[in-house]
């Protein structure tokens, strides 16, 4: 059948949960970041799907949002990776288990 809105939504949901699973289940910090990127992408997909199948596609609201989202995701990835590199330099590891100085 033709893909309609619900297909895209389910796709984005699956993508999101995959990204989430990776973010919470992997040990390496970089992979957590990767999972977060996937989650962001899933959200973007959601936006575009709703723009396409939504009430007012002429307003281009979804597209605009996604553009900004991509830009911000890029900035965030850069900063995050810089942080990981800085931590790696101090601790010589990217394992999130061992970076727990803020332990309560």
């Amino acid at each position: 059948m033709n893909p309609n809105l619900s297909h895209y939504l389910i796709l984005s949901a699956l993508l999101f949960s995959i990204g989430f699973a990776g973010a919470v289940a992997r040990r390496s910090a970089i992979l957590v970041l990767l999972g977060i990127e996937l989650m962001l992408n899933a959200a973007n997909l959601n936006f575009i799907a709703f723009w396409r199948y939504g009430a007012n596609p002429q307003a281009l609201t979804g597209v605009m949002f996604v553009l900004f989202s991509i830009a911000i995701a890029a900035a965030e990835a850069a900063v995050g990776l810089a942080l990981i590199i800085a931590i790696y330099r101090q601790r010589r590891t990217t394992r999130l288990d061992s970076i727990d100085s803020l332990k309560g």
Partner: protein, 189 residues
Amino acid sequence: MLNEIAFYLAAAMTLAFALAAMTLRHLVHCALCAAAAFAGLAVIYLQLHAEFVGFAQLMVYVGAIAILIVFAVLLTRGEEIRPDSNQSSPSWMTGVAVAILVLGGITIPVFTSPSLQRLPPAAAVAPVKIIGQELMTRYVLPLELVGVLLTAALLGAVVIAMREESEVKRQIRPPAPERAEPEEATSLR
């Protein structure tokens, strides 16, 4: 017809690569699979008639972010000596369970809501010209702010990742003899 096949194919590919990205052992493999997943997503964007977004996705995500991740992986490779470096954390099952729960939470509304099953009305177009016009009129403030944000992020990333002078010296010189504990123990505070 072709639409359907294209969609399912792209969707399956994206999901497969995403799954691979999250489960592979080798970090570089993960990064490359992720790049493929991003590309698949770009295809889906194209399908949805959001061409600009699709190309922007390719350029930014695949061309920049994935590469960045590969660089980061390569720069933090000191622990590959140990074989179990990329294993999942000890409690990965809890995380997966939570993820499944999240999945359930998100998909159940999709299934239970009848209004989501609808076909697109007319074709949606997103010409670049209109996007540009919008950016300069309605979305000019967010545009500027994002510009500032990107600048800050750029500078911030540079500053954070920059090696300090003392660290340079410490790398060149061997560490002092009285400092017996490994560098792992030095705190980040």
